[in-house]
């Protein structure tokens, strides 16, 4: 490792770094703006200037930019020299010429990198007496606020938005002192990752509009380490609370998972926690059908009584924690416990688990996905089903650029140079899906195929890689397969991505076969399978492949096997056709629903119990890569809201069930689950238990500047109430404790002296951009199994379903905003959610005689019903024309209103809806209110 000299002291530094990286990694304070650890250097802002000396005799030196200067053995630098200090101060002074003095009303104030750097360089007195430039701001949608006057032209926004995330509607306009970062015209920012601008912008140009509406300074937020519940990726988050309301979600760095970035569903989708549809008290249904509020004790007694008979069924949820599901399963017995998937989804998730468990290929984390040098995606529209992975694939295709750079001995952080060098050269990415995706612009080839044909393509690729004869397929498809097989075989780190979202088991099997064939061919092959929800994989691990489905439970309910049904955090009407769920709920006398927010299932219950949301409770979630991660309560749930596991454990204690007699704390439940369920034995490693102390003290949820604790309740009493104690975790609802060097899973917020912004993360990392000092959060439950490489491949022996004429296969089209149940209820996201629709291609549109905006009825061909009888359509939806849809397929907006009864993959007949009213244009009305 090279040794460099900084201000007379010698340091050993990492080879290949630049001076700024090295200095920050050494814990030295060197100001910067445009450099970002995930985006590299461009040398635009001139803020990280240092003096470099030619040799020991050189007493003058020259000013160089830290971020553009590679470290070299024996190099001599000065950070503290007057020349460097003066230069850096004058840079901030120049940047401040046009920067307004509006910090008191700026949403960035108190966590502003520009404030931090201004203080750091010591700039205080202003010499410029002229007028400041002003700009007109743009409406950028309900999520992001725009205040261009604050811009210091570091270019980080466009570098993230365009270069890193592939967005096309934000650009740098004009030149000189009137540069403007914005859209061509006002409108909603189109990138699914636009929310990261809030954290990427070093000042207050792009701020969180949802936070600005009911604003709280960073230092007044109470935060806890949490995990996003928006999809199965499991990004780490730091939600912040004040006055019992979730105010905002910031990224919590995890080197292996989300790194520095979240998607907008994750960042803005947690607003459902504040919904006015939240339950605050238990409700007992009276004979007149209305609910009467109960206190928690009375509710618990009712619940216990209902469970006494022992004829209890339970339906868990892939969006509830491992612990809640484990307890429910323990309460009702494994054979009476359904994991809460739809009938179609359950075998798919189980298959995703078993394929990854038995695959010789590596199940990659996101950091590893970014290292892939050839990628094949089968059947997944990643931007809408696992958005953070789509962002990772945008980085993986740049590996070609890094290869080209390495040949020229360019350092990997030379961002502008490498992008110029590579232009449109990319590592290969192939996508076979039912229709277009948001990654099409970076693919080498994207093809629209029906799910069965995607599988055929996959099996053909697997056979080609394995050198086996290929089943008979279409010649065009075979040529595609040959190109893809060659690219994957030629790669060092090939990745095959698939998942449950197109509703086809054979597609996933094909993906697994390709990665297995690649393993045989000695490549370091990776297989990643996307599952739908935050704890889908955890559910599959909990129940194994033998759990009853919803229909199975429903049949047994019809046979009057059950007196009581307990549903935990699940809206069954999103899991199956209405008549099946109606029948299930009607056939069981006591229906107890534990959930945080009102929904149709809860409204149909006889006893409703208020559950604490993810932000108010502790829980373990297993992400799609099999990573067990813990979320901690950000704030204490109000009123009678309790974590689901608390309700269940209390009930089981009342029932005197022996297995729970020794369970007292959350950690006891986790340990019990780990000891009972083999696949989940690693979950205790997700985070330290409640005994953990950080150098003898707890980890504080409040910053040391947390203010107004007494004033908060002064309208009720001037005596400050005792802070709630946290018996269940190593975190404290207090400012007291130590937020430093603890395990990464216990990081509630980032702050360091002199570093109030999120850039203080540098101080928590082992070296800049590298894993946290306390270690990376989460415990991997899926490890590659070396032994299974030699198992014989089974040939594709599936037969495509024969379609009758006039029928189309229903393929889901997911939406990042709307397809997920809870995030769609966050007010800001709700404005971006469309009403339900079907997508059809031109051939289909012509045959139906419809155009964009017309309505169509979807009918099930049911041999039981005579054709002339009136049948209610499965759905009536608006038509969108999308000519990229595969032949024979019709897309439906999965998870959006009106599509609940459509079953993935089923063939339906379509006809033009008569008397269809075209919906009036959608109006987005958020842009009122304060313009902070």
């Amino acid at each position: 490792m090279p040794v460099i000299q900084i201000d007379g002291q010698e340091y050993e530094v990492e080879a290949g770094q630049n001076v700024l990286q090295a200095a920050l990694s050494l814990g030295l304070d060197l100001p910067y703006f445009c450099w970002h650890p995930a985006m590299g250097s461009i040398g635009a802002c001139r803020q990280c200037a240092v003096v470099q000396y030619l040799n020991a005799d050189d007493d003058r030196g020259r000013i160089v930019m830290g971020c553009m200067t590679p470290v070299a053995d024996g190099a001599i630098f000065s950070l503290e020299g007057d020349k460097a200090r003066g230069f850096r101060e004058s840079i901030v002074e120049a940047l401040m010429l046009n920067h307004p003095h509006d910090c008191p009303v700026c949403a960035e104030g108190g966590e502003c990198h520009l404030q931090d750097m201004t203080v750091m360089v010591g700039h205080r007195d202003r010499h410029y007496r002229g007028k400041k430039n002003t700009h007109r701001n743009q409406y950028l949608g309900p999520l992001i606020n725009h205040e261009m006057n604050r811009c210091i032209t570091c270019y980080r926004c466009t570098r993230f938005y365009r270069d890193y995330a592939g967005g096309t509607d934000l650009a740098a306009m004009a030149a000189h002192d009137h540069i403007y970062f914005g859209r061509h015209e006002e409108g909603v920012l189109q990138s699914e990752f636009a929310g990261n601008l809030v954290e990427v912008c070093p000042t207050g140009v792009f701020t969180d509009k949802t936070l600005v509406k009911e604003y709280t300074r960073k230092w007044d937020l109470q935060s806890a380490p949490s995990v996003c519940t928006g999809c199965a990726v499991g990004c780490n988050t730091m939600p912040g609370e004040r006055y019992g309301k979730l105010k905002r979600v910031h990224n919590r760095f995890n080197a292996e998972v989300n790194g520095y970035f979240l998607c907008d569903r994750g960042r803005f989708g947690a607003g459902f926690v504040n919904s006015d549809k939240n339950l605050e008290f238990p409700g007992l249904r009276l004979t007149d059908g209305r609910f009467d509020a109960l206190d928690h004790h009375a509710a618990l007694m009712r619940m216990t009584t209902a469970c006494h008979s022992g004829k209890v069924a339970g339906i868990g949820s892939p969006r509830a924690s491992v612990e809640s599901n484990y307890l429910l399963r323990l309460l009702v017995g494994a054979k009476n416990f359904a994991p809460g998937f739809s009938d179609a989804e359950q075998p798919l998730v189980e298959l995703a688990f078993s394929l990854q468990q038995n695959s010789p290929a590596l199940t990659p984390d996101i950091q590893t996905i970014e290292s892939a040098d050839a990628v094949l995606v089968l059947g997944e529209d990643l931007t809408n089903t696992a958005p953070r992975i789509a962002l990772a694939l945008r980085q993986s295709v740049r590996n070609k650029a890094y290869e080209m750079a390495a040949e020229l001995r360019l350092q990997s952080w030379q961002d502008a140079a490498i992008r110029n060098l590579a232009q449109t050269m990319r590592s290969p990415l192939f996508i076979a899906t039912t229709a277009n995706t948001r990654l099409d612009d970076i693919t080498e080839d994207r093809v629209s195929l029906s799910p069965d044909n995607i599988a055929s393509l996959g099996f053909a690729i697997a056979s080609l890689i394995a050198g086996e004869p290929v089943d008979e397929i279409d010649q065009a498809l075979l040529r595609r397969a040959e190109v893809i097989a060659t690219a994957l075989r030629g790669a060092q780190r090939p990745l095959v991505l698939s998942g449950t979202s197109c509703g086809s088991a054979v597609v996933m099997q094909a993906a697994a076969q390709i990665s297995q064939a690649l393993c045989k061919a000695d490549n370091r092959s990776m297989l990643s399978l996307v599952v739908p929800e935050a704890n889908s994989l955890g559910q599959a691990m909990l129940t194994g492949a033998t759990a009853p489905t919803l229909s199975a439970l429903s049949k047994r309910a019809a046979a009057k096997e059950f007196d009581t049904l307990i549903v935990v955090e699940n809206d069954l009407y999103r899991r199956g056709p209405k008549e099946i769920v109606d029948a299930l709920l009607a056939n069981i006398p006591n229906v107890i629903v534990i959930d945080s927010m009102d929904n149709p299932t809860l409204s149909a219950s006889s006893l409703a119990l208020p559950a604490a949301s993810f932000a108010e409770s502790e829980g373990t979630l297993v992400s799609m890569e099999g990573r067990a991660q813990r979320h901690f309560p950000v704030f204490v749930p109000a009123h009678e809201r309790r974590s689901s596991w608390v309700w269940l454990l209390a009930c089981m204690k009342e029932l005197e069930i022996e297995e729970v007699s020794n369970l007292h704390h959350f950690d006891d439940v986790t340990r019990a689950c780990a000891s009972q369920i083999v696949a989940l034995s690693g979950i205790t490693g997700a985070a330290p238990d409640h005994h953990f102390r950080n150098v003898g003290v707890k980890v504080p949820r409040q910053t040391h500047r947390y203010s107004g604790r007494t004033a908060m309740h002064a309208n009720i009493s001037v005596h400050e109430p005792k802070q709630p104690t946290d018996e269940e975790s190593p975190l404290a609802f207090s400012m007291e404790g130590l937020n430093r060097s603890q395990p990464g899973s216990l990081l509630p917020y980032v702050w360091a002296p002199g570093w109030n912004s999120n850039q203080s993360l540098n101080k928590f990392q082992s070296e800049v951009g590298a894993p946290l000092k306390g270690g990376t959060a989460g415990a991997r439950l899926l490890l590659p199994t070396a032994g299974s490489v030699n198992r014989g491949m089974h040939k594709s022996n599936f037969t495509s379903a024969k379609l009758q004429s006039g029928q189309w296969i229903m393929v889901p089209r997911y939406r990042i905003f709307g397809s997920e149940e809870l995030s769609a209820k966050a007010p800001a996201i709700a404005e971006l959610v469309d009403s339900g629709f079907v997508e059809i291609n031109n051939v289909c549109a012509q045959s139906l005689g419809v155009i964009e905006g017309d309505g169509v009825e979807l009918q099930r061909a049911d041999p039981q019903v005579q054709s002339d009888m009136l049948k209610a359509p499965v759905a009536t939806l608006q038509v969108r024309i999308n000519d990229t849809l595969a032949e024979g397929c019709v897309g439906y907006s999965a998870g959006l209103s009106g599509t609940e009864d459509i079953i993935v993959g089923e063939p339906l007949a379509l006809q033009k809806a008569q008397g269809w009213q075209r919906p009036s244009p959608q109006i987005i009305g958020t842009d009122g209110g304060s313009n902070v």
């Binding site: 365009r162 096309t168 509607d169 934000l170 650009a171 740098a172 306009m173 004009a174 030149a175 403007y180 859209r183 061509h184 015209e185 232009q423 449109t424």
Partner: protein, 166 residues
């Protein structure tokens, strides 16, 4: 009338042919962005939002990306200009040689300030940093014609009808 014509968004066949000729010389279409803007501006006088979108679509770029390029260059006009654009050099040499009074006289003569267009849509007055003729300062351009050693007192003659033929 001119304004109306400029709002015609779709690129004409002639414009498309000229742009396509440029496209043949570049490896990626975005490389012809500046040429495409110049071509359309030559036909229409300026680049309207509609023209911009049409060009962007033709080049397979987003409107924002192309607008970033269009607004970077001061000689791509994103607002309507008169039939002739007066580019008055105000860099150091011309400033020493009296470009300020030159501008004053032009403004008096035409009744427009910097960045403005005459009521008859004949002229737009714009500042320009160096026309590359410092040895003959002060200089200005009217349309495509460079006028050297301009005498502030006689500048008015340049705007008389028929002045350009002389």
């Amino acid at each position: 009338m001119t304004m109306r014509q400029n709002l015609i968004a779709v690129l004409s066949e002639g414009e498309i042919a000229e742009i396509d000729a440029e496209l043949a010389h570049v490896p990626i279409p975005a490389g012809a962005a500046i040429d495409a803007l110049k071509i359309v501006q030559a036909h229409r006088g300026w680049i309207s939002d509609e023209s911009l979108k049409a060009i962007a679509q033709h080049l397979g770029m987003s409107a924002a990306e192309l607008d970033g390029i269009a607004t970077f260059y001061t000689l791509i006009f994103r607002r309507p200009v008169g039939e002739k654009v007066i580019l008055l050099c105000n860099s150091v040499t011309c400033w020493m040689k009296g470009c300020d009074s030159l501008q004053q006289n032009i403004s008096d003569q035409l009744g427009i300030g910097m960045g403005e267009t005459t009521a008859d849509n004949a002229y737009t007055l714009l500042p320009m940093t160096c026309l590359g003729a410092c040895d003959k300062a002060p200089v200005l351009m009217i349309g495509d014609d460079l006028h050297e050693d301009v005498d502030p007192q006689s500048v008015a003659q340049l705007f008389q009808p028929g002045a350009e033929e002389q």
